[in-house]
Symmetry: C2
Subunit: 257 residues, 2 copies
């Protein structure tokens, strides 16, 4: 008999978010679940780690009989603390999410949800980040749960290539409206950022980050294209940022020496 | 006559770090320099952005007659604020660093210095991150300045491919000891993280992140290999995390629908 799988669940919306509870419900069908997730919202924290402050880890009763901890750090801190302090071993699977809001395209870089999954990939642990294209705190995760279950089952049955993880985004549609799954590549899109400048009670300016998302990628096989067309997008993701195709471009610099 | 270049300089060690002043000294030979950098150390902040708090931007006199601002946010916030609020246009070049400590290998993901450069790449602005393999606050940046100048001159004379930036790491050696420049790819290495667990005055545990860097990449053309052998490493870097070589691996998931 195969031994029970150990599954770490984390996110960036905190232990209080509806999305992580929806993910734990699915995860517990596949093994022993341990939750280590932020004690407050950590959206937009990217791959940040906490260097200059100590970290706190507190048992949480929010998940009933599931062992759970609220961590004062970032999503990447949660993965590190889970692996090295809570579990003292590499789990068989790391699940991150389900995020309230999509993390397609270049959002993968800003996303705490996906950075937790990428940290898992760096530890050579099969990892999946799930995000629903709905920011609402009471978003309906039922269709996301169906697709999460399908993908988790597949990943547990087929070895995940080492050093990779999956970025899964689910459109804001009912189960019957979703057309299926598409394996995609990351779209090239960016935030045309604007700041809202306000003046405080002392006459000093402050700025709120805002912006509009600008899809500049017209290829058909992107995650954004899949989502717009009613599909769940899956992007196999790794952490090698080398632009291999441009290495030759800089060879003249080498020769200058 | 060509118009003067506009050069944004930022970092993650803050406006007070010796490294950014060393970089400004070089940058000002090539155009009009504007500094927008964190008002406190932001090492390890990765690609984090500030969503839940307002940002502050204060004029700084630390750079003499160079226009400079200290920003309350992350290095990526600095780039966004610089482009959209301070300069109101895309600068011709973004320089980040010179970091106190190397950012080779997978450190590119945790590094605020490199995330600022990657944010520049996302804005399609030629961007370079510089890091010296010396954490000391009084590190000697003189050799780094010579190589920074060489690379900046080359980048301004040869178009940088859109959507890319450079990750430059300089070994802790004197100018005469450095063997030259190598164009490399990112090494696969990771932090074998450990936490130092301590108990506070109330009997509660807290954790400090520590760890040892583990180079598991035995290929010859990595940035770590170059640094170990006395070369300055240059990694052309982009922000597409798609693991293209594994897209086929997941095609069976598509077919299940």
């Amino acid at each position: 008999m195969k031994s029970e799988k150990l599954i770490l669940v984390t996110n960036d919306d905190s232990v209080y978010a509806k999305g992580i509870h929806a993910l734990v419900e699915v995860a517990k069908k596949y093994g022993k679940v341990v939750v280590v997730a932020p004690d407050k919202p950590q959206s937009g924290m990217g791959h940040a780690i906490t260097i200059h402050d100590p970290l706190r880890l507190k048992k949480s009763a929010l998940f009933g009989d599931i062992e759970a901890y609220a961590c004062s750090g970032t999503p990447v801190d949660c993965v590190k603390l889970a692996v090295y302090e809570v579990l003292h071993r590499r789990p068989d699977l790391i699940l991150s999410g389900i995020n309230h809001g999509e993390n397609s395209s270049t959002n993968v870089l800003y996303s705490g949800t996906m950075s937790a999954a990428i940290e898992g990939a760096m530890e050579e642990i099969p990892s999946i980040g799930f995000s629903l294209a709905d920011f609402h705190p009471e978003a309906d995760f039922s269709a996301s749960q169906v697709y999460a279950e399908k993908i988790i089952a597949s990943v547990l049955n087929n070895e995940m290539p080492k050093g990779t993880c999956l970025n899964v985004n689910i459109p804001k549609l009912s189960l019957s409206e979703i057309k299926g799954l598409k394996v995609c590549h990351q779209a090239h899109a960016y935030w045309a950022d604007r700041f809202e400048k306000r003046i405080d009670q002392f006459g000093q300016p402050y700025y709120w980050l805002t912006g509009e998302f600008s899809d500049v990628d017209h290829r058909e096989n992107t995650d954004l294209h899949a989502l717009k067309n009613g599909f769940v997008s899956i992007v196999p993701t790794h952490f090698d940022l080398t632009a291999f195709h441009f290495m030759q471009h800089y060879k003249n610099l080498e020769n200058e020496n």
